[in-house]
Symmetry: C2
Subunit: 508 residues, 2 copies
């Protein structure tokens, strides 16, 4: 049988989703964000208009355009305009430093940037730190489509399922962020797989109180588009407001990470939740048992899941009704997705631990401009996640350890190698190891073990504040180590590879 | 832009659906038929066992196998076993004569036949009227999988979305039935398009009181499989029993044709329906206004639809909530499907009538062994249906006339050319025209206008009974003209083409 990686991807052409929803359910709400409500007809109107603006400014099909926004309407308008213009979205993590974003924009060859009011100055700082010159649009200061401008709009052709929709940056063990290619087919398969697992209702309203620049948020925007349902966007996470939306029966689905649930439960108190929430799709990291128990008690239908950027978010999901019988599991793979466990290049039996590998139509075709890394990550169609897990005899996935070195803090991924690279560039530091420690509110926080250039001398002069301040100019805040431990040496194996496991044991 | 017909089809590989459902929701009911209930685990077990039996008898991947059954469990077992064995299903319309079926089996190169108790003798008669010799299995007399036969089972590989699942025969204007190829991708796209329109619930139970050998019934079996939900199968249509299933809240979806709805309403009386039926997917022919009104009054959520074998059933569907505002419409195209109206090879504007053309991933790749007919039917990916219709400014489809000559009687399609061909083979008949007349119970019934070989003489000797008896040996009962009118001549144009419109006017 053909073992071609290509064959696990879907190909074909489909009518443009936004155009179709605007035509067929034009009065249905597409986006709700604070007091703003956009129907599909209105969103299509705005997206076509901005796509035409971008086109008139010389931005072409296939060009990469960065998006820096937390305001839901701004982000959604950016996403849909780029789809209409057949341009490639490069969503920026607004928590990153200008230097981190500049690296990504240069890597992706970004030719324009869209931003909201809150990130106009960040966009300027990114541009100032690069030699990039590009078109800039403040999404909240657009004149917008006027009724008289009938002709000034751009309408796209069919969607090619293999075309690239977005490049989403994710760091990795190498320390250099990589641009994960996300296709329209990845979105279609994810939407359909998720609908089969969580159900689909024409009246669905899916609340995303998380940033939209991660695949978890972006996927909800795209799924709502494909379903023709409503995406409810909160610009920032406010547990009281999320609880209100649930209790008032205003949302049927919610995406969240464990730390959010914890805060929601804390402010909600003892009383059970009202409304008709069908599932809380829980990503980011595994929920601890006590959180599962509190959710069950409060009547929150939690659906734990395992996902990653390279599989366009959801890979496996535990149905809410299984939450209490399969504690600790991330559930079963989505309908079109295969999950297996590998050790030394071979599949292992149920119960045995190994690397989680994923195959199917939600898997990325690769990393932008990185053919070698792509070949390493995708072998015979199997995405090698680097995460450790096992399957039980019923096929339920248990994630034992995220990419041995990955730290997940408040839903954000921190790749130690990236932080270590910054630390070792400091004149006082010779070697560094960054690991995560458990934290009640954030799940994990990063801490650093550092070796001084001149042991016994240097560490006396460099303060923690100075090191954190040094990091603050180079790293997003959530990546900055909360503690620094000076050590004489770090455990490395014969080939010089850091043995993080041993470092982590120092913390116990 | 690329105008390749291929590109509107989906390609890729997906994990086997039955295996996946058996593994992930093994205890969920797959099939309910009378007092028999099969879970997905049990159905997979049985299907693998029979697939192994067929394989051991020499039937190979890609071989065509006929299925003659009305018993739901038998039909479902046949379908799923052939999928597991990667063989091609040729579902037989059990109302056809042995001669009609023999023609199809020979055309498809059928190598084996599966049947239920009720159709054992029909299968024998088909074989007797051909020179085909083939393996035969009575689906109700199988020993079935025994626990000890652990190894005697066949498990298939991934599903290739472009692989042929079935060959479904449909007659046409030429008078010769054609084998419509149905791919796995056609089913996937249909399932997903339908879920987006009608919603999807893990507890769904979809009742099919219609034959499963038409695409309308077969599609429900395949959709339930893809969703992992329950197909409820009635071997024959009993309006009292269907009403009971609805009123007791035992089904959430129902497939039916207008004549069935009429009988259901008649026996149900004035009281409104109970339960939680989400939609009655109504195919076959447009529902007359008085039927729409009765359904609305009785609380039956009817979803009128337009479909055809070549598009694997559903093309467009009117949502139940639009039934009263868009009376007469078959609704909007499914999410991945495009519908347009053509006249002389050009698309026409909203409101103008013309031929309905359909493009998208549910459209057949063509007719078995008929490259020329396939090229004619599929131009640049557009399936030319032969049906006449128009779109309103909102994109809603109105079917004005099924393939000018098509007669739909009680949900069965009758192609006049096929009947005329039989009639003109009678020694007393020189020429014939068959048209449909409106009938309260069946929607339409066929009547024939015949020209005698020796006018004024022959018609005195050949009785209607004799002609009907002659037809009975050659045509399925529902195709036999209910009335015969002797005429001197039939209206034909210069090129000899029958002008059916004029014939139909004779009836007014």
């Amino acid at each position: 049988m053909e073992e071609n990686a290509q064959s696990y991807r879907w190909s074909g052409r489909v009518p443009d989703w936004l155009q179709r929803q605007a035509m067929t359910r034009g009065t249905t709400l597409a986006i709700e964000n604070n007091s703003v409500q956009w129907t599909y007809a209105e969103l299509w109107d705005r997206a076509q208009w901005l796509a035409a603006e971008l086109g008139a400014a010389g931005i072409r099909r296939g060009d990469r355009v960065a998006l820096l926004a937390r305001r839901g309407t701004a982000f959604a308008l950016g996403v849909h305009s780029l789809i209409q213009g057949e341009m490639v979205l490069v969503p920026g993590n607004t928590r990153l430093t200008p230097e981190e974003l500049a690296w990504q924009w240069q890597d992706a060859g970004v030719v324009a940037v869209l931003f909201d009011n809150g990130h106009a100055s960040l966009a300027q700082r990114v541009l100032a730190s690069t030699d990039l010159s590009m078109g800039q649009w403040n999404l909240e200061e657009l004149s917008g489509p006027l009724a008289s401008e009938e002709l000034h709009r751009h309408s796209r052709e069919d969607i090619d399922l293999q075309a690239i929709h977005a490049i989403v940056y994710t760091s990795g063990t190498t320390g250099h962020p990589k641009g994960t290619l996300i296709t329209y087919g990845n979105h279609l398969a994810g939407a359909m797989g998720s609908a089969q697992r969580l159900g689909l209702n024409k009246q669905d309203r899916w609340l995303v109180p998380m940033p939209l620049f991660h695949v978890g948020g972006l996927a909800v925007l795209m799924r709502s588009l494909i379903y023709g349902t409503t995406a409810v966007l909160h610009d920032e996470f406010d547990p009281v407001r999320v609880n209100e939306e649930i209790d008032r029966g205003r949302v049927s689905l919610l995406s969240a990470v464990p730390t959010m649930l914890l805060r929601m439960l804390d402010v909600h108190g003892e009383r059970p939740f009202q409304g008709h929430l069908r599932a809380v799709l829980l990503g980011g990291s595994a929920a601890p048992t006590y959180l599962v128990e509190r959710c069950l008690k409060a009547g929150l239908p939690m659906a734990q899941s395992y996902g990653l950027t390279e599989a366009n978010s959801q890979v496996a999901t535990l149905a809410p009704e299984e939450a209490s019988t399969k504690i600790g599991s991330s559930g079963l793979p989505l309908l079109f997705t295969e999950v297996a466990i590998m050790q030394d290049g071979c599949m292992v039996a149920a119960g045995e631990a190994g690397e989680i590998v994923v195959r199917g139509p939600t898997v990325t075709p690769g990393y932008f401009g990185q053919p070698t890394v792509t070949v390493q990550a995708l072998q015979k169609g199997w995405l090698h996640t680097g995460d450790i897990g096992c399957l039980d005899t019923e096929g339920y996935l248990y994630v034992l350890d995220r990419r041995s070195d990955l730290i997940v803090s408040g839903g954000e991924n921190i790749y130690p190698a990236e932080v270590e690279q910054i630390l070792t560039a400091h004149p006082a530091i010779q070697d560094a190891a960054v690991v995560g420690v458990t934290h009640v509110q954030w799940g994990q926080i990063p801490v650093a073990f550092v070796v001084a250039v001149a042991p016994g001398v240097q560490q006396m002069r460099v303060s923690v504040e100075e090191l954190q301040d040094y990091c603050r100019h180079r790293l997003a805040g959530y990546k900055i180590p909360q503690k620094f431990f000076w050590v004489d040496t770090l455990p490395r194996n014969a080939s010089g590879k850091l043995m993080r496991k041993e470092v982590r044991q120092w913390l116990h």
